[in-house]
Symmetry: C3
């Protein structure tokens, strides 16, 4: 296996809680084929997805207690990756084992530690407490995207695309050719705190349209407040609020978009969408949110990000040309550049393309 | 992007006129992803198909006036490839530009200049005046073929395949195992004039069958006269006539087959089929021609040419074994060999295979 | 064409008799695209699948007498690979020929000699006389498998997978977590005789289940006797018998599984399943056997073997960990290792992985 150039000794989001059960789940994380399953105690486990006897994938096997039995010849592995049973043979050689990966279940996600397993520290998992707060609703999403994880993350870090790519759904009401001086005023602040990047972007006195107007119950005008927090490897922890001209905020949405590399050209996209208005009988309820977000992300975001990936594969080495609105993306790429250097890793092209362009 | 080994400073056919509209068209020409669109003035334009900001394809964008707006973040490019608008930012850096390609619309096709754009000379576009002559009808075709452009062009330059590959449609009435002395007499003349190759092939006193007998209204006998003119990069400008034994010619068909490389293993195939008999109320009319030509080219020619491509990929380097009937193909390959050498390019395998075999 | 690393001067099974007719069959054997056809005398022939004129596949052509005519330009090749007819040209150059491969039709299969054609010796074709014996029925199968031929052959050489992979069809009645001391006694003998490996495996006093119980008419107990004979390149000539406790054997099944490389990552899987019980009016008849074996091999074996291939491609170089039950596989890999060395070939990974693991 060619090792992927990804950050190590860090948690990657691997699955939604609901995806991991007593039916094994095969998923490639950071280029490593892994099998995820939940033993009868309910504890999730993650192993290298191969039986070392003859290289059949363990994900085709069956959970027995806390262990996993290969479907080909019946070998059984425990959740530490050690072979504990060979049919018709009591002796088991010491090298009959595979890698196990530390997992933690938190905030509705299964997190897996990539790197030195002894260093796994659950306190560094991103903090998403709103997913469990009273008075809020949560809807979870998963997509497999045929594009590098950084392209998908950059999409989320860059709120300025909303008015164009999402012009038929969650955009503000704008003139697409308006000059800087003609458009609603935008203020952007970014702030780097260690390996975390914070961003605050306010579009002042703007009009809502489409779905956002429906959420708010009117076109406004409002101040559109986007708060962002990015944490490595690629958690985009966003908050969107509509502030009326009298300072009241009636709608707060937390959108936690979390990207995990599958291969260099594909990634896993996890999302929880958590909101404090509408509800089971009001609008939007979970079905509304599911339909709206699938429409937006499958209809707009994933197609353009996959098209970027295709373009990059066709053109090969090119440099991006960042602009003022890209401040959050640029700060994140700077932190990534430092983190890759600290780990003695070369800079992958998806980080370098924007970093070197500055 | 790996540069393709193709002739430069020459026009390539890129699209039919009807394909280029205010809805952008993505098409790879000579390995370069291009976007084609028509501004509100009606003028066609061709740009590199990427926004240099973040590498989204411009072909997913929208035409505004004579310009093209990227759908991702709203950047606007004019038809010279210069960025003319960035949302919420008045300053535009000078390097925010992409390549523009000179286009000319002529004879129902959009031609694009590949090479040094300052040398673009519309007078060197192939001359196809019959497409606009009174008393003639034209039907246009486009196919994307999963084979190198030269394999597809060679098919058109080589009329001898008609009696075998098209035995169920436009072949003459022949015995497939007839010896040279038993078959109708064939005369072939070829003539090289600079970078143009002319060919005249007459099958004397032969019987028509199938579709050709239907066009002529009888089986003949007739003299089957095929006139060919080849111009670089790969325009196969053909004419087919049926001459009765008294010297009368009642049917003249112009078939302009024009091949453009997409990648090393795929090409664009453009065709106008122009004829002076039948007509709107007679046979054949445009619907007849459309159905007949699609049947022949999609049913016979493209499958065998794509199979040649597959065979070449499986076998790797092999040499062709040309025969007397290949005279037109051989002369064309000799001209191509000289043109590649004059441009300081190595000989691509699809030209070399026949050229070196002589 | 990149030459595949396979054993030479040996017969490979290429097709079932019924697959080769006057309609040419294209099949890649040991990486070589071949065309198989049967001339009007009924004799099968195998040629390189390309016309050397312009590299169109001859398999798209037509049989004329004992010869094959290319569909593109009508060239005709005899079953020795020599061009014998060019339309409108009496002279034929001596280099206008392709490779012909010696074929023999025997036991319902077409065998093709790979290597020096002058050494082809029909006496070394595997002996499968039961396919023609009175009182037996035969059902033939073919599958194309997207995995290396050795992975598929190893599956057949390794009877211990039956109780796990085929737990819902032909497994014995077992406890999947039973310790060695708790399970029915198994004896295994293997014996190497030149390039042939013999194996005898008996599961003593075991209970049948599912399909095997249906064949036998009861669950037993019986002794399950598996006799195996392997011959290079990869014929797995197996026999399965159920012996009652009084020593009577009422069911004998011959299963000849024969693997032929197509490419490094794909193979042809031929099988005859020959049995001496049930019959046209009893159970199982040919339809029963067809349905049962397709269910087992398409539902269980091919999916896991293709999954092994995928796993190996994802993980790259890994070593297997053989166990006691793998004795037959191990002996076969040792013979293969010696045969590859004798032919001066490096050891392909699919052989090396188990051989080096010992």
């Amino acid at each position: 296996m060619q090792k992927m150039q990804v950050l190590e000794n860090i948690w990657y989001c691997a699955a939604h809680s609901a995806e991991v059960s007593d039916k094994p789940l095969a998923r490639i994380i950071c280029g490593m084929p892994m099998v995820f399953y939940r033993g009868e105690s309910g504890t999730p486990a993650a192993l290298e997805d191969r039986c070392p006897h003859r290289q059949a994938p363990l994900s085709m096997g069956n959970v027995i207690g806390e262990d996993l039995q290969c479907d080909y010849h019946g070998f059984i592995y425990n959740n530490k990756g050690s072979c504990v049973h060979i049919p018709r043979q009591d002796a088991i050689s010491a090298n009959n084992k595979i890698q196990a990966f530390t997992t933690v279940e938190r905030w509705g996600f299964i997190w897996v530690w990539w790197g030195n397993q002894e260093k796994a520290d659950p306190s560094t998992i991103p903090d998403l407490p709103w997913t469990e707060e009273d008075g809020r609703r949560v809807e979870y999403f998963y997509w497999r995207v045929k594009a590098n994880h950084q392209l998908m993350a950059d999409n989320l870090l860059d709120v300025s695309h909303v008015d164009f790519l999402h012009k038929n759904s969650i955009a503000s009401k704008i003139d697409p050719t308006a000059k800087e001086s003609e458009a609603p005023k935008v203020t952007i602040e970014t702030n780097v705190d260690g390996n975390t990047v914070h961003s605050l972007r306010i579009v002042h006195k703007t009009l809502l349209a489409g779905i956002t107007a429906a959420w708010h119950g009117s076109e406004g005008p409002i101040n559109r407040i986007s708060t962002g927090k990015w944490e490595a490897p690629n958690s985009c922890i966003l908050k969107l609020q509509f502030e009326d001209m009298d300072g009241t905020i009636n709608e707060t949405i937390n959108l936690d978009h979390i990207m995990t590399p599958e291969t260099d050209g594909s990634c896993h996209y996890f999302l929880d969408w958590t909101w404090d208005f509408g509800g089971p009988d009001g609008y939007p309820n979970n079905e509304d949110v599911h339909e709206e977000q699938c429409g937006i992300i499958e209809g707009d975001d994933i197609p353009i990000v996959e098209a970027q990936q295709d373009t990059l594969e066709l053109f090969g080495k090119v440099q991006d040309i960042p602009v003022k609105q890209d401040k959050f993306v640029i700060e994140v790429h700077r932190v990534l550049q430092r983190m890759y250097e600290e780990q003695g890793l070369g800079l992958p092209p998806e980080v370098d393309r924007m970093a070197a362009a500055e």
